[in-house]
């Protein structure tokens, strides 16, 4: 029954318009090659014309007065770019936290491999500002940065190795409400290039409690998350770091960057205040 309904649901999704647009894009004529002998000849001809025109102009014309030229001022504010935004974020001093922190929640793992979390002293929150975007506007076209070759070699990576690569132990840092169980896979298969560099470096840290779950996807390739942070969304501030949060009923999704790590956090069945606590625990 579920299978039939899910199939019908997928079959009901219209694809005709998307197919037409994609095919038009694939069939766009390629730009003409501009190198080779023809380019050299055209460049030579253009140079001759420019030289000739310049000689004639200098001979027949006079120098224009300075006030005939229009000066275009540089914009008053620098253009916001992901690189500038990231630079601003990483350069900002992190002030001593005055937030309220809850005692670290003891996490019970499905396979008993982790030690108990130590209890951490808490301080009152005073600097966070949470603004939630409607989930219905979470829809934008993909970045054009998929140009890199995606297919590489698949490498089995143990979580310890990934922890070293990331420079942070998410499982130890995250603070969740009581009862959540860590079901994160301890091995993942990541794609690497010929130099053994990660082409995709995302890891999903998943915690479940009955119907509720929290998923934290981490990456050091933060460019695309930065695009959310500079986009037209309401921004939240968590530990003086920008975050973009979407929410609908009991579904929350948040994007943030901290210490050169990009985070995509998804929660279901978690209160916004608990999601905020989760974000604070991993962004510090």
């Amino acid at each position: 029954m579920f299978k039939d309904i899910y199939k019908r649901a997928n079959d009901a999704i219209p694809t005709g318009a998307a197919y037409t647009r994609v095919m038009n894009r694939l069939e766009e004529p390629k730009p003409r090659r501009t190198w080779g002998k023809s380019f050299a000849r055209a460049a030579a001809l253009a140079a001759c014309l420019v030289f000739t025109f310049s000689v004639v102009s200098i001979y027949e014309s006079r120098v224009k007065a300075p006030d005939d030229f229009v000066i275009i001022n540089a914009p008053d504010e620098p253009e916001i770019t992901p690189e500038a935004t990231q630079s601003t974020q990483t350069d900002a001093a992190i002030k001593p936290s005055e937030q309220a922190k809850r005692p670290a929640t003891k996490q019970q793992v499905a396979e008993p491999k982790r030690a108990e979390q130590p209890v951490v002293a808490m301080e009152p929150v005073s600097t966070n500002e949470i603004k939630v975007n409607d989930l219905s506007v979470l829809s934008q076209s993909a970045a054009s940065a998929y140009s890199r070759e995606i297919i590489g070699a698949v490498k089995a990576v143990e979580i310890g190795e990934y922890r070293e690569y990331l420079g942070k132990d998410i499982e130890a840092a995250v603070v969740l409400p009581d009862g959540f169980v860590n079901v994160t896979e301890q091995t993942a298969y990541l794609t690497v290039d010929e130099q053994d560099e990660y082409m995709s470096d995302e890891w999903s840290f998943i915690f479940e409690k009955g119907e509720a779950y929290c998923e934290i996807i981490t990456t050091k390739k933060t460019e695309k998350i930065q695009e959310y942070l500079v986009g037209d969304y309401e921004k939240s501030v968590i530990l003086e770091k920008d975050a973009v949060i979407f929410a609908e009923e009991d579904f929350i999704r948040a994007y943030a960057v901290s210490s050169e790590i990009g985070y995509t956090v998804t929660t279901v069945g978690v209160e916004l205040s608990d999601a905020q606590t989760l974000l604070e625990s991993i962004l510090k």
Partner: protein
């Protein structure tokens, strides 16, 4: 003009790639761009494919890697609400099931989609995604458990 054989492949697997991208990204515009990128790579690829099955597996792998989560560009201003694009044409029963799948964690959505919509076996999913069969089974199991809870036992067995 696209070569006939590559055009045939694109026509044959467009729906598969597009709907997998949808399941992965939950976003019609992102999925369309991902689909275009996948087939652009296919067109430009100099890879020697041994068979059509090899092509299919390659397309699935590239689609999954291309559509890594919800990253999208803020410079493309056309925004369309999730509900309008994906489920506008669906009856209520189908939309409820489809949205329940979309709310699963990303990696569960992919295996659930490949298993239930593409009718792929665990071994096939494992090979196409480059992950262990045990991981696929684990992800299927957890995905099913979440769906059963979300759908509250309706719509038959998951």
């Amino acid at each position: 003009m696209l070569k006939n054989d590559k055009h045939d492949i694109i026509e044959k697997y467009f729906n598969m790639v597009y709907k997998l991208a949808l399941a992965k990204t939950c976003d019609a515009n992102v999925a369309e761009d991902v689909t275009g990128d996948v087939f652009l790579k296919y067109m430009q690829s100099k890879k020697e494919f041994e068979s059509e099955e090899h092509i299919k597996a390659w397309l699935i792998r590239v689609t999954v890697n291309c559509s890594k989560s919800f990253f999208s560009s803020s410079w493309f201003k056309k925004t369309v609400p999730l509900e309008e694009t994906l489920i506008a044409e669906m009856p209520e029963e189908e939309s409820e099931v489809y949205l329940a799948v979309l709310k699963l964690p990303e990696k569960y959505r992919v295996v659930i989609h490949l298993f239930y919509y593409e009718d792929m076996a665990v071994a096939e999913i494992s090979e196409n995604l480059g992950i262990n069969e045990s991981t696929v089974r684990s992800q299927l199991k957890r995905g099913r458990e979440m769906l059963r809870t979300a759908l509250k036992g309706e719509f038959g067995n998951v």
